[in-house]
Amino acid sequence: MKKFVPYLTQKPISTYHIIQIVLGIIFSVYLLWRLYQVFIANPTYGPDTWARFAISGIVLGSVYALIAIGYTLVYGILFMINFAHGDVMMIGAFGGYFVFEALSFVPSPTPANPEEVFLNAHPIISVILAFAVGVSVSALSGYLLERVAYRPLRNAPRLVPLISAIGASIFLQNAAQLLFGAQRRDYTNPEQITRGQGWGIPIGESTVILTYTGVLTFVLSILIMLGLYLLVKRTRLGRAMRAVAENKSTAALMGINVDRVISQTFIISGALAGAAGVMWGIHLGLVFHFVGFLPGIKAFTSAVLGGIGNIPGAMLGGLFLGMVETTGPAILGIDFQLKDVIAFSILVLVLIFRPTGILGEVLSEEKA
């Protein structure tokens, strides 16, 4: 016998669904045609170029993934978009920058090279130190941000903490500009991991370079993400976070200190952003006051893509977005200038047509 489904919960097929399906089909057809063009009919790029695109995409994607997890964590608990998250990443990037700069002046002469500096003599320690400082500074910022700008507004209508977040973001960006100047700064990597150097892999007609910094970034991201996943699934803190995300008042009744858990969430999310910031600096080299803006939005796109509130979703979303950004213009045949348009378009389309994301949980009306 057919399962009895109450009439009122049957969703009628609305125009939205039809438009969704039609657009989806049109786009898939176009995509398939382009893939055919690019790979088979009219190959514009050799396998070496594709390898380069892919490597770029994966590395970039892993950075986005880290930042996206931060967004997801905060949204899952507080249902607010932490606009200032990208700027927390910027703070972490600056932290790492200053560590490298400082260490590049500390002399540590070796018999081989009397002019040697600490940075090059002990690269591993330097990198660890940079990460430590970057992560702590941004974790602290995340904590302060929550205490000052978000906690007092927890009961206010939705608009109010959003404006506060926007204000905090603007404040952080411009404070950084005033403090450190508006010019872009380059990370002084230890020599052993100079940007652009890596293992050469002959593919196709030329050698594709798998950069040291790229590998470092990717491996570290995966490790961090695994660690976070374990944290959320296996530890008490993780359980507490999930409980608070489910229902704050019930969690409070169960004896969980909601305020503390929220603070800890912000600290963790800040730490993740900080790690991402340092990685950004090491791999791409650029750090300046506005560096967090675009990656922040793209990371948010990744989080939404994967289903906001869903951690594995954020990771996958980040990697996906990174790949799309680097290979998209090539595949779709549009100018490379427009890769940001791709990211924003994905954001808009996903939010309009599938706000639950790819792996998403079903969000109730209140949460959406």
């Binding site: 514009t44 790029y45 050799g46 070496d48 170029t49 380069r52 695109f53 770029s56 995409g57 970039l60 508006a182 010019q183 872009r184 380059d186 100079t194 940007r195 652009g196 150097q197 890596g198 030329s206 050698t207 594709v208 370079i209 950069t211 790229g214 950004w280 791409l284 080299g285 650029l286 560096v291 675009l294 950004e325 680097t326 290979t327 213009p329 090539a330 100018d335 490379f336 200038q337 890769k339 940001d340």
Partner: protein
């Protein structure tokens, strides 16, 4: 609000609009330009006289001048405005030009008891910033001349605004050829144009470096794209077809995918039309994108200490254009002054130190030749006459060479000189 209030409001609004429209006009009606009158300088002893009631000392030339006179009262400064990027990645250019102009202003000393002042404003080097700064300057009655703007994009956007207000412009660094081709009467420049620069670049690549696989990239700005287009056209005229002509968006951190795309065509040399900020990022990412063996060639926008500091070893062997002032006592003296004041040799921050100084000096000389000291102690500077005087500058001996303006406003003389990075410094490239 009550209905009566609406009616009253509406009536008032219409009345005031009509009143303003029919009232005395402040927009000038174009009349024939007046010949600049030579003024005999009356050495006045005291400058800060307490303001006496104006005895109607406005000279006749002010009423007949198309744009009227700027009136500088005793105690006020004669202001020269400058728009340039003072913050952000390209701050080095704006700051350098402002510093050079300040030396010129202090060298000029006093004029009939009035001192000069440089009002340098940040226009971010963008057209939007240029227009905003221009609107500000036009509203300030003490500003009589504009040095700039420093970047071509900002200059282009600001030009119509100055044209309408009758403010003369003399730029020491805006190189885009189109700027003097639109019939502007107020804009002049004391530096080579990109038409010249592009031609030299193409010749250098073709004849001296003898490279045929050329990729061209630019940043879509007026300057960058303009220069890139000239280089492309000149290369094609010389028989080399560029492999591609690609725009990038300035401000991104990751150009590896664009560069991978370029690398797939295996160029030997990439010409980049744009500024140092992006060029350094590109150079740093060239290796990992498959462009290990290619060299980067840039225009005057790339030259400077920024490039070397930020590319370190990756920058070795890259080319850029700059200007070198012909050696003279004046240049040596200026270099010493600049270094004493700012702790750095001129020409390091940007190539435009000398042309910026010259621009300010020419403007000051023109001001002094048309200004009239009225009986009431005010200084009257007829704007239209000033525009003509600057345009008519001939055989002015400047630091960067002889400055003579033709009828379109091109005043500069020296062409670009190419430099290459060797051992961490810019050295002149072999001819």
């Amino acid at each position: 609000m009550s209905k009566r209030l609406y009616i009253v409001t509406a009536v008032l609004m219409i009345a005031s609009m009509v009143f303003a429209a029919c009232g005395p006009t402040t927009t000038p009606e174009p009349t024939a330009m007046v010949e600049p009158t030579t003024v005999s300088e009356e050495p006045t002893a005291a400058s800060e006289e307490p303001t006496e009631p104006a005895t109607g000392g406005e000279p006749e030339v002010c009423t007949s001048d198309a744009f009227g006179c700027a009136v500088i009262k005793p105690g006020q400064t004669i202001k020269i405005g400058m728009g340039g990027p003072m913050s952000g990645d390209n701050a080095a250019y704006g700051i350098d030009s402002a510093q050079a102009a300040r030396i010129a202003v202090s060298d000029a000393g006093e004029f009939n008891g009035f001192t000069y002042e440089l009002d340098a404003q940040d226009d971010l080097g963008t057209p939007e910033g240029g227009a905003a700064v221009a609107n500000k300057f036009v509203a300030d009655p003490q500003i009589v001349a504009i040095e700039g703007h420093v970047f071509s994009g900002a200059t282009g956007a600001a030009m119509p605004i100055y044209e309408e207000a009758g403010l003369v412009m003399l730029s020491g660094s805006a190189t885009n050829p189109g700027l003097t081709q639109n019939g502007s009467k107020v804009f002049n420049r004391g530096v080579f144009t990109d038409a010249v620069q592009g031609k030299f670049v193409a010749m250098y690549i073709h004849d001296i470096l003898k490279l045929t696989k050329v990729a061209i990239m630019h940043d879509s700005t007026t300057y960058g794209q303009g220069l890139a287009e000239v280089v492309r056209d000149e290369l094609m005229a010389l028989g080399t077809e560029p492999l591609l002509f690609q725009a990038i968006t300035p401000g991104e951190g990751d150009y590896t995918s664009v560069l991978a795309d370029v690398a797939s065509k295996s160029p030997e040399i990439i010409f980049y039309g744009g500024y140092a900020a992006e060029a350094t990022v590109i150079v740093n990412q060239m290796d990992q994108s498959g462009l290990q063996d290619a060299i980067l060639f840039g225009g005057d926008g790339i030259y400077g200490t920024d490039f070397i500091d930020r590319t370190k070893e990756n920058g070795e062997g890259m080319y850029a254009a700059s200007l070198v002032p012909p050696a003279s006592e004046a240049v040596t003296a200026y270099n010493a002054k600049y270094e004493a004041a700012y702790g750095q040799e001129p020409g390091k921050l940007s190539p435009y130190s000398w042309t910026a100084y010259d621009a300010a000096a020419v403007l000051i000389q023109a001001i002094e030749s048309v200004a009239i000291l009225g009986d009431d102690g005010n200084l009257y500077i007829p704007r239209g006459a000033l525009i003509d005087t600057v345009r008519g500058t001939k055989d002015y001996q400047g630091l960067s060479g002889v400055i003579s303006c033709d009828e379109t406003g091109e005043c500069g003389s020296s062409g670009p000189v190419f430099y290459v990075v060797k051992d961490g410094d810019w050295v002149e490239a072999p001819k």
